[in-house]
């Protein structure tokens, strides 16, 4: 995949950041507005898609490291299941942060209101962790899809089989 023209690259460089910020907004406001961890994470991962299209695959390969994405994926998933396990004093996935006053522990008045970011307990935490996981996973899928579409451009030290 060849890099696009300098105009396209500049526009993509600029707008990729807006996409990332919008995606993070969707993740963080998961418990208040439509969307959530998965949707926001997918939006953030388009950051990678933008740059991949604009700059071509080889350049991206030299810019990113795939094990970082694996790390992100594992961190998100572990955070998710830890949030479940920490509720174990009552039940698995018990919302132990809600209304506790600390992180995401705010209390909302009953009745129509605009909502507050610091509420909902583990729901927000789980949105965050799913968001981190999806960003890592989808970015990696995009990179792998690139290397599958261009098998002549080798990617890292991957081989066709698994023989050592």
């Amino acid at each position: 995949m060849n890099p696009l023209s300098v105009v396209a690259r500049t526009v993509c460089n600029l707008f990729a950041w807006f996409l990332a910020i919008f995606g993070i907004y969707v993740i963080v406001h998961g418990h208040l507005t439509p969307g959530g961890g998965f949707q926001g994470g997918a939006v953030v991962a388009t950051f990678m898609a933008f740059l991949l299209v604009a700059h071509g695959g080889e350049k991206m390969q030299s810019w990113v490291r795939k094990d970082r994405f694996t790390l992100m994926e594992c961190f998100g998933l572990t955070l998710f299941i830890s949030a479940g396990l920490l509720g174990m004093s009552k039940t698995f996935f018990f919302n132990f942060l809600a209304k506790a006053g600390g992180v995401f522990g705010g209390v909302l008045p009953i009745g129509p209101n605009a909502g507050a970011l610091n509420t909902s307990g583990t729901i927000a935490l789980m949105n965050l962790s799913v968001g981190i996981e999806v960003v890592g996973g989808l970015s990696m899928i995009l990179l792998y899809m690139f290397s599958a579409a261009h098998p002549q451009e080798p990617m890292g030290r991957e081989e066709s089989g698994h023989d050592r």
Binding site: D67, T70, L71, E73, C74, L77, T78, F80, I81, G84, L85, G87, M88, S89, K90, T91, F92, F93, F94, N95, E159, S160, G161, H162, D163, R164
Partner: protein, 526 residues
């Protein structure tokens, strides 16, 4: 707060946690990854034993995820369970137990078997995800979650079947399995949607309580039956099974067998617990019986002519699933008729349940032994093998145990469960028992064929350098061999403690439903 109350959740949390941490073990090298693989497998096996003994002592358990308390299924003012509910009766606990044993054996075997391949941290992660899906299907009390876990186990197993991606056959097998499984999963989802649109619930116990016999329910039942019979590999939807089982790495196949048994579990949960006595007509039981007969006979006749060890054993899986379908079909036929149930129905159910555990153990062992042959000789073709008895005596003995058990030679466990199925199906129609016996004879014939070709005969020059497989592989096989010998030597104990509670739980629709709604009394519901 007794931590044992949380067993149903831990059953899912432990393998899931194992899967999520597994990719990180790549940084710690091979030793750390193998240690993690074994540690998590041992932990969930121990948890499965604890769960099984707890259900045996206390009856059906429920667990409410995220609730104020694990047993508050119906918070006050709510008449149907709305939270994520898990429900484990003796049949589920039995399935979880044998799934855990098969997965443990597969894991121990894989440590040595997969040693020379890269990408193992992903293998471990997928393996644990598949196991999570299997446990989830067996412990869930909710149809939508059943679908979710079905998808988790399927998607993980596509990856594992295609693990040797340099082999075109493996990719083809995984693709075929993916198409069939996705179709099956969509049918399950559609069936759940039918039931949800009619009753506004997806909870199994509630559905069992309110269900009536109408067009919508019939459609849903047919969809469930087709999809789950497809997933457990019954003829005519068996075509994915030989490919997937033969191409997946042997340790994976061992666990994959237990995963396909989870679909069988789902099928009988639907038939017995949800529809149960409402089944009205004998059409569905007869459909299951005929599927069973077809699977038995076609599976075994396809098996005898195979040349590849893996494919031969995989076709036997089709025929063995037929036995279980026959047993459960006969049991379902007798459901609702107390006299027929006492006469032959309960025997058939016991036979079916006993055959599930026997099948999982010996079939797993057979696949591991086939994997050991492949590991040692580098060949899958029976025509190229011969005279391995002197080179691999331990593998030979383990293979012999499994082959004798699957052929139903007394005193092995296969004999007991097959006898129970013959006896009870004879009471329905003698021709059923005849088919079952002919299948058994052909099974014996094809295992004599493998044994004779691979192990007996003069030593071949090209196998002069073949050595016995590494210790970890032998240990993995021994886990299953010990289970087989235990079930064979103590048939009365296994029937009374392992099989009968599970068969009774399957018949006992009221206590499955009661476990959810009885909790309402203490939780202040309704």
């Amino acid at each position: 707060m007794n931590w044992l109350d949380h067993l149903p959740a831990l059953m899912l949390a432990v393998p899931l946690f194992g899967a999520f941490i597994a990719p990180l073990t790549a940084w710690g090298g091979k030793g750390l990854r193998n240690a993690w693989f074994l540690l998590v497998s041992v932990v969930f096996s121990v948890l499965a034993i604890l769960l099984w003994s707890r259900v045996g002592a206390a009856g059906p358990l429920i667990y409410v995820m995220g609730g104020q308390g694990w047993n508050i299924a119906l918070p006050s003012g709510i008449s149907i369970p709305v939270r994520i509910l898990m429900e484990i009766d003796a049949f589920s606990a039995f399935m979880v137990l044998l799934g855990a044993v098969a997965s443990l054996a597969g894991a121990v075997f894989s440590v040595a078997y997969m040693d020379r391949f890269s990408g193992m941290e992903k293998f471990v992660a997928l393996y644990f995800l598949m196991v999570t899906g299997m446990f989830g299907m067996e412990v869930t009390g909710d149809f939508f979650n059943f679908f979710v876990f079905l998808e988790i186990s399927s998607v993980a197993s596509f990856g594992l079947v295609a693990f040797w991606r340099d082999r075109g056959e493996a990719l083809e097998a995984a693709f075929k399995y993916m198409l069939v499984s996705s179709l099956g999963a969509m049918m399950v989802l559609l069936a759940v949607a039918f039931l949800y649109s009619r009753y506004n619930v997806v909870n199994m116990a509630t559905l069992g309580k309110v269900i009536e016999w109408g067009m919508v329910e019939k459609t849903a039942l047919v969809l469930f039956l087709t999809a789950l019979a497809m997933k457990c590999g019954s003829v005519p939807m068996h075509m994915w099974m030989p490919d997937a089982y033969a191409e997946a790495p042997a340790g994976v196949t061992c666990a994959l067998i237990a995963v396909s048994q989870a679909s069988l579990y789902g099928l009988f949960r639907v038939c017995f617990t949800i529809y149960g006595a409402f089944m009205g007509s004998p059409v569905i039981p007869w459909v299951i019986i005929i599927l069973g007969i077809l699977s038995m006979f076609i599976g075994v006749s396809m098996a005898v002519i195979q040349k590849e060890v893996g494919r031969l054993i995989a076709y036997h899986s089709v025929s063995q699933v037929g036995y279980m379908l026959l047993g459960f079909g006969v049991g379902l036929l007798a459901l609702g008729d107390a006299r027929a149930m006492a006469d032959y129905g309960f025997t058939a159910l016991k036979g079916g349940v006993f055959h599930i555990v026997n099948y999982t153990m010996y079939k797993g062992l057979l696949f591991l032994a086939a994997g050991a042959l492949f590991y040692a000789t580098g060949s899958r073709n029976l025509n190229e093998m011969g005279g391995l008895a002197r080179r691999m005596p331990k593998t030979m003995v383990l293979f012999m145990i499994a082959a004798a058990a699957i052929a139903g030679l007394p005193p092995f466990n296969g004999f007991v469960s097959k006898l129970l199925i013959y006896e009870s199906s004879f009471a329905v129609h003698p021709i059923l028992a005849v088919f079952a016996m002919v299948t058994s004879v052909l099974t014996l014939a094809s295992f004599v064929k493998i044994f004779q070709t691979a192990f007996l005969g003069p030593e071949l020059k090209k196998f002069a350098g073949v050595k016995e497989v590494p210790g970890a592989m032998l240990v993995g096989m021994t886990v299953l061999a010990v289970a087989i010998i235990g079930l064979s030597l103590f048939p009365t104990w296994s029937l009374n403690n392992l099989v009968e509670p599970a068969a009774k739980a399957l018949m006992d629709q009221t206590s499955y439903i009661g476990a959810v709604f009885a909790a309402a009394a203490t939780g202040g519901g309704l």
